[in-house]
Symmetry: C2
Amino acid sequence: MKNLSKKISTKALPGFMELLPEDQIVFNRMKTVIRDSYESFGFIPMDTPLIERSEVLLAKAGGETEKQIYRFKKGDNDISLRFDLTVPLSRYVSEHLNDLTFPFKRYQIDKVYRGEKPQKGRYREFYQCDIDIIGREKLSFVNDAEILAVIYEVFSNLDLPPVLIRISNRKLITGLMNSLSLAKKSVEVMRIIDKAEKISLADFKKSLTSLKLDKKSIDLIVKFIGIKGSVAEVIKELSLLNIDNDIFNQGLAELKAVISNVKSFSLPAKAYTIDLAIARGLDYYTSTVYETNLKDYPQIGSICSGGRYDDLSDNYSSQKLPGVGISIGLTRLFSQLKELGLIKKTGVSPVSVLIIPFDEKFVPRAIEVSRELRVGGIKNEVYFESAKFKDKLSYANKLKINRVIIIGEDELAGNFLSLKDMDSGGQKKIKSKELIKSLTA
Amino acid sequence: MKNLSKKISTKALPGFMELLPEDQIVFNRMKTVIRDSYESFGFIPMDTPLIERSEVLLAKAGGETEKQIYRFKKGDNDISLRFDLTVPLSRYVSEHLNDLTFPFKRYQIDKVYRGEKPQKGRYREFYQCDIDIIGREKLSFVNDAEILAVIYEVFSNLDLPPVLIRISNRKLITGLMNSLSLAKKSVEVMRIIDKAEKISLADFKKSLTSLKLDKKSIDLIVKFIGIKGSVAEVIKELSLLNIDNDIFNQGLAELKAVISNVKSFSLPAKAYTIDLAIARGLDYYTSTVYETNLKDYPQIGSICSGGRYDDLSDNYSSQKLPGVGISIGLTRLFSQLKELGLIKKTGVSPVSVLIIPFDEKFVPRAIEVSRELRVGGIKNEVYFESAKFKDKLSYANKLKINRVIIIGEDELAGNFLSLKDMDSGGQKKIKSKELIKSLTA
């Protein structure tokens, strides 16, 4: 088969991230930190099939999704790869409604697929790390405040530079539009608002003018998204707008409820803010919305977004299931952090100790020591191959394992072990009995 | 959209396992135990794309794989879902040959896809938990012994009933066949040997006769696979067969090397045996082969199989890359254990403590206590919804959270907390400062 060697490309497909061990270990550690943070608030693990019926995935999807989805036939089945974790959640909750306890708090950390044009920072296969809290008929707004606390906790635990979590409530814009008798243009206006921070004020106004909004409306929208200050100040300014619309006032009441509860979670004041320019126009959210940025790296955009929706499963279930949730796009986040040099590499191996038998004769003793360490909770490995001693040490160097235990004639005869520190190069004799204590000290 | 509710099925596709939280938590715990066991021996995590070029996956595949594979086009790309983790490993090692350190020890715990007819115990989507040790040009047979120790460690850590790991060496059968001038029938004979333990001796002989083997050859094969006893006895009997064939003798020497090294790993003698009826006829193994059974449940077949191969990547690379590895089919194993009643359920939630504010007024204090517990490393959640007190307790019951902290007027005024044990029904007052100590005692 050797003649095939030139023909088959061994590269991963474009748009599919494939990491070398050193990066993979960091990536997996991030996944574990996110999982543990989610679990510490009581979110329950979920694992749904990667393949779903196309009619399930596409029931509510728009044109862009239909273009990007990986859809195919297997036998008579029209099936697709999931493009997010929310539609599978919706199907799962509808299917298992009577077996679940509500509020249902679940997390899912899994790959999703979108056949986008591969380009920098865009992946066709990527991890989403989602949490959602689903109520039955109703759901307290304390949950929206807790989600904010979860976001803060996750990124603190990930040991990333400071984040700023921005929240708003979509009913504010919807109500504002309704009060201006512009309900039909609400979605288009939200899309323009989403772009507001990337364009000049003049261009922003021009975009709104092109939707045939009058000057009074445009001025009010500009005034609205321009409201800044502490959360208390923003809420006060919103009240002072005196907008006589039920939806607007409901949005304001909801935002107040979230903000007043956030205080109980002891978040530092500088970790979150109300930002009325967040609309998430393309999403299905109906109330609270979230975006999260690294304060010092605004260029990478939102690293964690989400919001509250009125009904998770209106496609499949007649129960009303309000929910609130967020998603971290981990693959993209990882690649951005790597590019910014913010990834702290921790090693190329999960072990911190390599045991080197000087030659074959000392392999049994090396295995014995390895086992003792493993029983003592210390991950380790033995170098089994016959090689020159310096090549054995070089294996430890390449895997960045900085402690090496050497076993040879002297060690066996004297019933001790030699422990070499690969960083300092120093070497010392240790009694077998004291090895674990010495390694965990 | 409500009118769609009857039309779209919310069931997972047939052949795709979907678990409720209580089972999912057990399943994930098993995954974590396997991962930690693998890492404790120095295996490095790997995560390859689920989608590969079809030509990569099918380069060496036979007819059955071509039928079962999920293959489709996206744009101009002919792509497929991986059907195992070995072919992606082979591609990965060839692609990153110069960035990896050898011996390369990696694990991958991931889903694979095979469009088999859905039937009991057969899944179209299932987890494989693989380890492989890949050498460059050569690889010590101590590794084959270590793999045996890893298998034993994994199933001990999973707390399953006792396992029996059966090993053999495929060169013994190949050499035996060559010595009988039956090399061309070697693969067919291996397939029959694989079935030997499921059929009668008469049927076994009949199958061999149908391949037109003479009586002398059949008798020798029957004698060969009938050799039983301690590992020392089996090795002695194999020598006494006096088979004058280099491959046979090489297989015997390799088997001896593995067995002599296994002793150093301190495996109990009853945990492993040589079983010459293991051939793994459909696989690519060329030397050591493994199968693993639950001693008391032989009916569920092998739960962990593998072996050694001469060259991982002959399709893509001109380097010779000998390796040895095993795979656990976790989805199938889980479903079998569940059917046998061997799954120990641990709960429906990752948390062990629920905090119940008596009414809305006590939510801030509940959040404060929750945060203190989380900082102290205790996963917990707060019940935020307004509901009758007994419904709040019922939430704890349904999620099998057996400790509940209640916060109401008395607790707030007296600066204490009420801790209720849901199993016993008992309730006691605890000072806030002593809560963590009391919960971890």
